[in-house]
Amino acid sequence: MLLWLVFDLVLIGAIVWLAWAALAARDGFEMIVLFMVLGLFVALAWVRLQAPDVALAEAAVGSGITGALLLKTWRHRRGRAAGDAAADARPSRALGFGVMGLVTVLTGMLAAVLVLIPRPAPSLAETVFANLAVSGVDNPVTAVLLNFRAYDTLLEVVVLFAVVVVVWLLGDAEADRRAPRLGSIFFGFARLVLPVMVLIAGYLLWLGGFAPGGAFQAGAVLGAVGIVLLLGRLYTPTAADRLPARLVFGLGTVGFAGAGLATLALGNAFLGYPPEAAKTWILVIEAMLTVSIAATLAGLFFGAAPSGRPTRESDR
């Protein structure tokens, strides 16, 4: 027990220190790397809080994909930010301390009120477990996300779709979006890791039915496969890929909403799966979500609607 206490204290200390270090970092690259490490430590904290599903999502999306997006943005801005006085200007010291004071007071109030809540705190966990048997899956988190509150998840998938629409609206298609030329070590790495990652994504998807895992985690891992492909120029999207990309981006929304319409046509409530086939419905929906989320995340990393002709062999 004491060992865990020490571990937890070290973990808390590390999280606070990393957060501070990330904020205090002067260099953009340093800041991003510290932020990604912070994400991994927060994922560890989620494990300690017995929320492995959240931990997986935090590590894959919060730290991994977000970090990749931040690094990509950093590289994109590096060329032009130099000399941009407005971007380099830091807020005054007085303002910094003012904001710090305000945030400290607010955090103190939030913490005090949280402590005042009587324990054990009421929750819906019992209701979820009471209905788990009829949900079609054994993992309570998947049961909530894909069955009890499937409508929430549908709208979350729509949020991702909205993001990629806005990115395509804003992305500068003319800019050279090719990744930097990478050395031979990278290709050896990619050759080893890519097939394993695809396998892990499939495994996480299947795992979601009865253990921590599911469409979002699997989608993030599969999305990382896309990012590695883009980074190594193993795949360079061209204008011809626009329509397939649009199709896959929309697949999550259309598949999920279509499942809802199908349940209505069956005479059930919206997204009310037939109980005996609930597992199949959930798995099919999750498979579509995984592919769509992966493509969306990789598409966000690419950052624009692809343009240009197919790459010539000599470019590789």
Binding site: R149, L170, A269
Partner: protein, 506 residues
Amino acid sequence: MIWSDPSTMTPEIMTWDLPSLVVILPLLAAVAAFLLPSAAVGIGLGATALVGAASSALAARLLASGPEISHLGGWTVPLGIALRVDGFAALMLVTTAGIGMLVGLAASRSFAAKGATEAPAEERQRLFFWPLWLLLLAGLNALYLSSDVFNIYISLEILGLSAVGLAVLSGKAAALRAGLTYLFAGLLGSLLFLLGVDYLYAATGRVDLASLGAIDEMTPALSMALVLMLAGLAIKTALFPLHFWLPAAHSNATAPASALLSALVVKGSLYVALRLWVDVFAPTAGLGTLIGLLGAGAIVWGSIQAMRVDRLKLLVAYSTVAQIGLICLVFALTDEIGGETAWQGAVYLILAHAAAKSAMFLAVGRIAEHLGHDSLERLHREPLRPGMAQVAFALAAVSLIGLPPSAGFLGKWLLLEGAMRADAWLWVGVMVLGTMLSVAYLMRPISGFLRFDRVEGPVIMPSRLDAADLWPLGLAVVAIAMGLLAATPLSLLAVGSPFVVPEVVP
């Protein structure tokens, strides 16, 4: 606005799950419009019309048989999520689809395909307006129907992201800068709201509005949750002094986008705040007075800024700040004797402002298109007078000021009546002051329209009636006509009103 007669509908429609459909339909259409850019206009207008028809049918069904609840997935609350439709929600659904239709028609003309001469920026506007508008429509409809605070959070995210997309549609540097501020402000608002949701769940173990509304005792955690959620919503609604993002975001967007942002988007979060305030939390007198004071501040500050700025679009944007303040006075009045009347007035002001402000932004867009600028100082010197757009602007102004018989008049009258019945003379004074200020700033452009003595050279009036002027004019007429045809909306609003003892829903 057309209200279908329930008796003429086929019984089949009467049994459809219309609440789910008004959310799902625009979602599917958004994907379709993104997938098939060449058919986006048709998909966009068709889907908006269908959603309008479904919303009207739903409203008719409500008038006939009372409020409705759809339990999604067949799970009852608190385990599942329910869509709840009462009169307020139905009224917002119909208004949103109706205004969206007219703005969409205006957009279909201003973003028309131009063939080979089309600039990349124009092509982008034409292609992306429709998916973004349809996502916005889905987000708003989801928001109106949601009876679950976490679900409201996700709906707010859809709304916020598609709104930012619309704000930067023009691709101009000023719009991009304003859009980034808008995005950050919106995310801050969302996160505060989500933090409030966390506190609610931590304190009560519930996220559905029905369970939350049944809790009588206000604990510190509940108060904290309420304050956090209202603060987040205040940022998104641009309530003074958290309006800092609005003028730039709304005035730099392209005209149809400005119309949607000002008419509908800020009302989405205001709707949620009003619903939480009236349906869920027992109104807290001190907090209500504080929001009312912020509303008064918004009226004064927004009006003064509107009197100072030099751009017509910026004036209209600041007018939104002031009008939001006017509507927010209701938070100080719901707990009083005239609470229900004041609430009706606020709802009617939301509808009136939606119609009038979308008309005004479209009209300003037309005026700027004709003149090539929207400088207030130069209006009265311009020989070119786009008459129809100016008429639309003036009619919209009639409703914003609250002159009879407009919808703005009716809303303001009800709000005033509520305040007077509560003997809240301070708020009556604020409303009177706000009305005078709105006359003052709206007369700046209107006097520019009507002055001819400084025109250099002969006055030119576009002789031919342009179809593009019809849509702002139509919206302005709606803003007036809703004051005359108020009986149906008001009786719809009474269906499932939180101020009467709720009927038992089978």
